[in-house]
């Protein structure tokens, strides 16, 4: 694995671990999702650049468009959570807890 591939692969794995082991805030999990999207954008862009497949340069742009949709949906959910529960801390999302 070349150093460039190792760096964005480990960036993706770190974002995934940060999302899996999120601690207190919903916003921290959303930021880890954004880190995942960043590593995917860099991966797709480097694919297009290193293999000189310039037609593939549209793929990171489309990824960015859909990632913007996902980020806005996640932030709207966080705003709705902050309205109904008063905060975005995950220990407050316990209505279904017995």
């Amino acid at each position: 694995m070349t150093p460039v591939h190792f760096s964005f692969t480990s960036a993706f794995a770190l974002g995934l671990m940060g999302l899996a082991f999120h601690r207190a805030h919903l916003l921290s999990a959303l930021l880890c999702l954004e880190g995942l999207m960043l590593s995917l954008f860099i991966a797709l862009a480097l694919w297009a650049l290193q293999l000189e497949a310039t037609g593939f340069s549209a793929a990171p742009m489309l990824l960015l468009a859909f990632s913007a949709c996902e980020a806005s949906a996640g932030l709207a959910l966080m705003v709705a959570t902050a309205r109904t529960h008063g905060t975005d801390r995950l220990q407050n999302l316990n209505l279904l807890q017995c």
Binding site: P3, V4, S39, P60
Partner: protein
């Protein structure tokens, strides 16, 4: 050039370690800004200046600005930075994991595998710019689909943030 490039690659990994260790969202957003900045540097080093500018404008200037002011919803009186006891364990473990993985792969990293040297001629029309222009010609269907999805997301956000009183938007 190789040193700058390897610094950018390490900056990407360290920036995402800073995000993944889950400090207070203020600091995680800062780590993401740094990671996106050096990620732009990585793309420029490979000759993708247009994609790097797109990342800067749309990702940093659009999405992360929204995350930065939404961090006000996650305000707490004593935000936990990377030095605080509950976060520093995560930081050290993630750095250790990345270090072990890098040590495992280190044997195959020789001199020439670090960066892409731009040793070609200089063209005015760059590869990534003209590749993105394909999105408007042959990729027109995908453009319409993503435009439709963005419009749909606008209505999703409006529905989610409408709140109890089914009327105009209100402040948080």
């Amino acid at each position: 050039m190789v040193y700058t490039f390897s610094l950018f690659l390490m900056g990407l990994v360290v920036g995402l370690v800073a995000v993944a260790s889950n400090p207070a969202p203020y600091f995680a957003a800062l780590g993401l800004v740094v990671a996106a900045g050096v990620g732009c540097g990585v793309l420029v080093g490979h000759g993708g200046s247009f994609l790097s500018l797109v990342l800067f404008l749309i990702y940093l200037g659009g999405m992360l600005v929204v995350f930065a002011y939404s961090a006000a919803l996650a305000a707490e009186p004593f935000p936990e930075s990377w030095g605080d006891r509950s976060v520093v364990g995560y930081v050290l473990v993630y750095l250790l994991v990345v270090g072990v993985a890098a040590w495992y792969f280190y044997g195959g990293w020789y001199e020439g595998s670090w960066g892409a040297v731009e040793s070609k001629e200089f063209f005015v029309v760059r590869g990534d710019t003209s590749g993105v222009a394909l999105m408007y010609s042959f990729g027109g269907g995908m453009l319409i689909v993503s435009g439709w999805v963005l419009l749909l997301t606008l209505f999703v956000v409006l529905e989610l943030t409408r709140g109890l009183s089914r009327g105009a938007l209100r402040a948080v």
